[in-house]
Symmetry: C3
Subunit: 480 residues, 3 copies
Amino acid sequence: MKNEPRALLDPDRLFASDPAQRKIARRLYEAIEELPIVSPHGHTDAHWFSENAPFADPAHLLIVPDHYLFRMLYSRGIPLERLGIRRNDGGAVEEDPRAIWRTFAQNYHLFRGTPSRLWIDHTLSTVFGIHERLDANNADETYDEIDRCLKTEAFQPRALFERFGIEVLATTESPLDSLEQHRQIRESPWPGRVVTTFRPDPVVDPDFEGFQHGVRELGGLTGEDTESWSGYLRALAARRDFFRALGATATDHGHPSPRTADLDRKSCERLFAAARAGKLNAAQADEFRGQMLTEMARMSLDDGLVMQIHPGSVRNHNRDLFEAFGRDVGADIPARTSYVDALRPLLDRLGNEPRLSIILFTLDESTLTRELAPLAGHYPTLTLGPPWWFLDSPEAMLRFRRATTETAGFQNTAGFNDDTRAFLSIPARHDVARRIDCRYLAELVAEHRLEEDEALEVAADLAYHLVRRAYRLEHETLTS
Amino acid sequence: MKNEPRALLDPDRLFASDPAQRKIARRLYEAIEELPIVSPHGHTDAHWFSENAPFADPAHLLIVPDHYLFRMLYSRGIPLERLGIRRNDGGAVEEDPRAIWRTFAQNYHLFRGTPSRLWIDHTLSTVFGIHERLDANNADETYDEIDRCLKTEAFQPRALFERFGIEVLATTESPLDSLEQHRQIRESPWPGRVVTTFRPDPVVDPDFEGFQHGVRELGGLTGEDTESWSGYLRALAARRDFFRALGATATDHGHPSPRTADLDRKSCERLFAAARAGKLNAAQADEFRGQMLTEMARMSLDDGLVMQIHPGSVRNHNRDLFEAFGRDVGADIPARTSYVDALRPLLDRLGNEPRLSIILFTLDESTLTRELAPLAGHYPTLTLGPPWWFLDSPEAMLRFRRATTETAGFQNTAGFNDDTRAFLSIPARHDVARRIDCRYLAELVAEHRLEEDEALEVAADLAYHLVRRAYRLEHETLTS
Amino acid sequence: MKNEPRALLDPDRLFASDPAQRKIARRLYEAIEELPIVSPHGHTDAHWFSENAPFADPAHLLIVPDHYLFRMLYSRGIPLERLGIRRNDGGAVEEDPRAIWRTFAQNYHLFRGTPSRLWIDHTLSTVFGIHERLDANNADETYDEIDRCLKTEAFQPRALFERFGIEVLATTESPLDSLEQHRQIRESPWPGRVVTTFRPDPVVDPDFEGFQHGVRELGGLTGEDTESWSGYLRALAARRDFFRALGATATDHGHPSPRTADLDRKSCERLFAAARAGKLNAAQADEFRGQMLTEMARMSLDDGLVMQIHPGSVRNHNRDLFEAFGRDVGADIPARTSYVDALRPLLDRLGNEPRLSIILFTLDESTLTRELAPLAGHYPTLTLGPPWWFLDSPEAMLRFRRATTETAGFQNTAGFNDDTRAFLSIPARHDVARRIDCRYLAELVAEHRLEEDEALEVAADLAYHLVRRAYRLEHETLTS
């Protein structure tokens, strides 16, 4: 009786099983289920929407770009080559998408209890109409059905964007990007709102590969003299303007730590000169990055871009894999993070500026009650981003609300981000977040900590209104 | 149908919604609901009880002194001036209490999901008989009703103290305080038990504003030569005796970290001389504070005062606000804290002394299972204080019991502290703590980890007996 | 109506009280309840099984060896002498087992809410047929009944081993141990599988008492020249082989931190020479231990022994108690631990070796979502050990699954370890773990995150199959 045909998605999934709570959660969810998706932070490919070409095949759409999936398979001994991940040396990797798909299907049981399982089931069921749990036996049949779909117009990127009810989707680009795809999207008759995000790490982090080259290129793109500190800052401001003209409302910063600095001009010039010369030691590079966060905040005061700080990931922890396959192969590992002293220089300078908005993320849950909720529940400039990356999961989302609400409330949080490269998982991820928030609110109502009319307002805020306000994407005002 | 009239307080609030657990929780709560309130640690104003004058108005009673409330409002962009918080420069602030109250009422939705919401609702409902949820529409009506009450005898401080069922209430004073109010209270015919707590930070922390002046004043008050280390220690001992004579059973220490030291006499004398001369660097100031914790512990062995250590808060994190408004304006932020090495010098010297009692608090929940429960479950001198400050909330209280009970049990914890400046919130805060403890115990009973007759004993211990024992306020012995 | 006779063990204990979840939990538990016990990590005494002599008396069987019990009693002021713990100076301690038992029984209420309570109740009920809650009144009667049992053949070690359904039990020995008991067990006709574990701390940790003597002894035992680095490594490899011949499948490492190192040969030789001469400072000793973890991993690649790393305990925190009673008296306290940088040298060298298997443990729960689940969910060499020591309890086990499953899944975890010196608590501890895992799975099923047929497979994996695979104790393959 294993894996008999039955719906993959139960309508009550992720709600508490206590009947009193479940009933309330259902009512809250029904009221917000159909709200548009606002996706202000992610890593989808702008080419998809500018070109609107059909996706290649099931494996290269669903597995190869998703490091959540292949890191788990790798952890259980499956070489990345078998999953079609490109090697730097051009060495042989599995080229047959069906073979990759079969490997995945055979090992689908590894994802039990993980959010990947929820996302894939949701995608199979709601996007492709497949209602049987994936396994070795139905791998081929499932592959064929997805493949058949992908060849039809209804599964092209723009059609899916519309079907998913996406109101706005942000991608992330380097300041050196031409934003050509974004220009094309805006000039096309297609009404979908796809915007860019200004991610300056390649030209503000001296440890980034190609930093010096990038700084020179920045000069070329803007006509500024990026050999001088002031010209460098002007060049960054110019690119920010360019990004804003193509829809950007936010910047994003993936530094190793949230350290900030507020140095005098002379020190900045000295550090920048050494950075251009490749002569910073590790501590100086960290100080330079910290100074650049403060510079970016200062520019945000001028141009209104919302600032996102995503710290605490040790990138490319697995040396062998980095050498063989490069970045983003599932080997980034979070490390202990501290915000209280780290943010102080920036906050001392700009922490009470009403026009500045900084969204803080974390991979270190121990900071939630200790540092982040107290900071966001005090500083008018600070908002809490949603649970991120490894924490973008039902249990971690519940812990996030339980840890932050009592000190920072709901209005100091920024709604949900899907932060994904996996386009088809966007509805699934938002659905999980909405269900968990409704579940949390239902618990508050069932325990008489909040009344249901209030919970209904909050549910809509968490699903829709807060993210639009936090990312300055709104035209209307919040309902509450 | 928004905000229709209905009771603000459900009799089952904060109990789990599972019917089996809720039924048990109700029975436990009924058995302890009416026990007297023991409040051994707080920051109410002794003048209230010595003078027994009516409270001024709703805003200056309920909002202006409560940094939980105005920090949240400030985080959403409302200037402290609009809330009537005094500026250091005497600059203009809102003087009209009704205007302050309206601002609060208009923004009451910000507190959804926070303990402040529970406390205010409880106060409105049980103290003032107001049963409608506060909002912009009923702000004036609510204000008028509270104001009317405050003008009557039944709402004077001593009458409320009695109505709240407070058995004993501790305030907190500096060693330099004359304790005149406490003397008056004791000499008055009023039988209410209000005691002081010895908080020596101003004269043992070299970084405290006015430390040097304070040490000289300490000499003046005691007739000891506080220019010498031995005279300084004698002066502190003398003030402790004076505090004990006015009811103190405890000391309280709000150092940045729980660091302790156990230096030889020569080093102490050197450090103290440098402290008096204002010549300590940051590391030496920290060492001096650490030595003073050990000195205070040594004195506790002699005089029996219970020692409270409240570490881990970075005070006055917001520089602009500190300059404009001073201390205690909601800008203290917790930081990472470590106890294991920090307490070692003190514990090496006195950790097994049966007469010494130290109550440890934390703002860093990651220390609960890792450090604090193992320490308290071993050292006879150590007891765990209740969840404190940002953690004085339903979710954090539940996490506290789940994190500490399995290693330290119930008997190594110190019952509940309200730690508040907001006198009217005292019954509300104790009620939340009692409900959450009953809820936790009901869960243990429903899951057959404890039997109900035992849970009844524990519930009474947590609500009443343990705090009296921990603070040496009891006349009878514990029931269990 | 206090403590009236009733069954000590409810058949639904530890399952959630929500009826939907409880029903599923029961079905899962019924399916795995009777699976054999695999106990791959513990500290029982091999003499018990080689000699099979009757246990002495209730107190010396159940209380005196169990530091969980006497640390709690000590924390509430009961001197260790009253509990029969031997002093180093031979000073007087309680010798009468009945008196020790009475002290324990009088204070049994201290264990409310702790796992010790669950374990003792389970032992009394299932091993000795005692169904009344222990207290001062029934202390003697209970003592007599246990004592009566212990004098019968059915309660001798081998009989209990069989009655408990133990498939394999590992003890832990120093490389200097003769393993004589293990030889006797293997040569006896008794079919019980008792194996050893290679715990090299005494000869690889320069801070271990007697390290230099131990290294010389290691030379004597193996005929290698342990004055040279290469001879020392050969000697260790030889002892590993000897342990393997007596059934060992694993090594175990209890270093203060998980720090690893990967030094060149010259540096190793220099450090080792200084270690033998007793001339390492604290930092160098730490580096040497770190290098030895990498050496042990390298040897594991050759001989297939699974490596267990148990870091983060500050041993003998209570100086007075260490001087009076020695090690293992309940005064070890966990400290903050970090894995991400610490493991890097070892992982850079061997992290992708398919034949290497390292099981990581922690006492610092803040590392679970931040470091350990991401590491185990990526590196093929890493597996997560179960909640350990202070975390071997219902709440901590639940937190462990909630923290690790979403990122690392189930298959990167290593089943359960009881890690106990208290032989009679083994069935109780496995029962708690099985119940909590079933409860967690039931929650996933009730919330439609997993289907029940999958949960049944996972329940069997967690109770039985994963531990056999992780410790290379299996003959069959996993079902899933």
